[in-house]
């Protein structure tokens, strides 16, 4: 009975992933979602491709070793995309919570034994850990976007001027971070 729940979930990998993928696309307009879903070419549809691949890897970790580094790596492409799209932070990570619902719809919400309850708890706890990791990844991406926004001009243009010695702002005597 011990591994039963995890094994049962693992056995239904394909249909569960398909449901999860659908759930992950719910933040998009309907016509966009159908494009993201149907267009299988990874180069014509990178959002759909990375989302699908990311979910596959998350699924495997969820029922497998739950290696947090691997989880973060799997989350990265999904959230990196969401961090520059129109989704709110809550919407961006919602897809992880949705997997709980998918599982309960598929396997029943109420555990039948104490052991099963323990496993279900463990499963939910794993998803929660994924959510926390997702927040971290999302925020790191947002911070990077903000940094790019703030520094791009400075790095690309002013740095060239600075190298040329054409600008010497008095208030900015700090050494160049990435200068030669």
């Amino acid at each position: 009975m011990g591994e039963a729940l995890f094994a049962r979930i693992a056995k239904e990998r394909a249909p569960l992933l398909s449901l999860w993928f659908d759930a992950a696309l719910e933040g998009y307009a309907r016509d966009t979602a159908s494009f993201l879903k149907d267009r299988r070419d990874p180069f014509a549809n990178p959002v759909g491709h990375h989302t699908r691949r990311g979910l596959e890897r998350l699924f495997d970790e969820l029922v497998g070793a739950m290696d947090m580094e691997a989880v973060t790596q799997a989350l990265d492409p999904i959230l990196r995309i969401r961090a520059v799209q129109h989704l709110t932070p809550a919407r961006a990570v919602e897809f992880l919570f949705r997997f709980k619902r998918i599982l309960s719809e598929r396997f029943g919400a109420a555990p039948r034994s104490a052991e099963a309850a323990g496993l279900l708890f463990e499963l939910h706890e794993r998803i929660d850990r994924m959510v926390l990791a997702a927040f971290d990844v999302y925020m790191a991406c947002r911070e990077q976007v903000m940094e790019l926004k703030a520094n791009e001009m400075r790095q690309r243009t002013f740095r060239a001027f600075q190298r040329a010695g054409l600008v010497r702002p008095e208030h900015e005597k700090a050494p160049e971070a990435d200068g030669e």
Binding site: S34, R40, D41
Partner: protein, 352 residues
Amino acid sequence: MNTRYLFAFLVVFVLFLVSWLGAAAGLGWLFGVVIPYAAVVVFVVGFARKVLSWAASPVPFAIPTTAGQGRSFPWIPQAKIDNPASNWGVFLRLLFEVLTFRSLFRNTRMRLKEEKLTYQLEIFLWVGALAFHYAFLTVLLRHTRFFLEPTPWCIQVLETLDSFFRVEILYPGVQFGLPAVYLSGFVLLAAVVYLALRRIVIPSVRYVSLASDYFPLLLIFGIAFSGILMRYVTKVDIRAVKELTLGLVTFRPTVPEGIGAVFYIHLFLVCTLLAYFPYSKLMHLGGVFLSPTRNLRGDTRAYRHVNPWNYPVPVHTYEEYEEEFRDKMVEAGLPVEKPLADAADEAAQEKE
């Protein structure tokens, strides 16, 4: 509910009702003579006016979409059709565009092997569009037999070819007495159904579709369906029909007795299509030839394209530029037209 296709459906239904009631009321002259003449006039005048109105706007710039290597050195092979440098190349480009829908086909060319299923829907647009247009053309050409006496040999050959691919009817009893089955009519019907379903089912296409996208499809469905009905089921009196159509083209219109209502419905829907054509997107038939991204040569650096309304514009001249920066230019060692001293003299003179 999508009001757009409902609206289109409603309009076609009303058209059907109108013609059916008209035929039942014995308005043969109206539906068999007056409306067809009017429709043809509207079509011809409208089509010409639209094309002329396009042609009236000039092509100020040569802006072909270059879809392959342009003409360069002799040792770099040029994509002579996708990026033509000769009028012959442009002709071929348009020809492939019109006959094979080359750009649309580009859609389907790239494909990864591992992925299958839904992605192949892409090619169906091309296949569907091709089937639709060629079937329509065949049907159209076949119909010229109604306007020509005797039927020209080329039309007869086409008919033979079209029915050559006949769908064998399995029950000999039913087949007895059936005229040859023309494939084109059924292909047309199937293609129209496919194109309409595609519009309704694929969300992104439904999202952008307007009533004027559904309407012609439903109209053509009605035309094809009534045509097939006439030919294989209700059996109109072909001789009477030909008498009417010949009368129309020879300007001696007559309305023979005994033509079924289905014919008038068919004819009325055709007339609607004709009259609607010039005022709709169906004008892509003419527009594709006038599209500046397709009908111009790509060698725009080798030959000057003339813009008929090119007008002079204010520019910031070098003189004005030097006037503003002369000191700094001289200081930086940049050459100037007027040395500083001269410029100062002039300024002094102006003051006096």
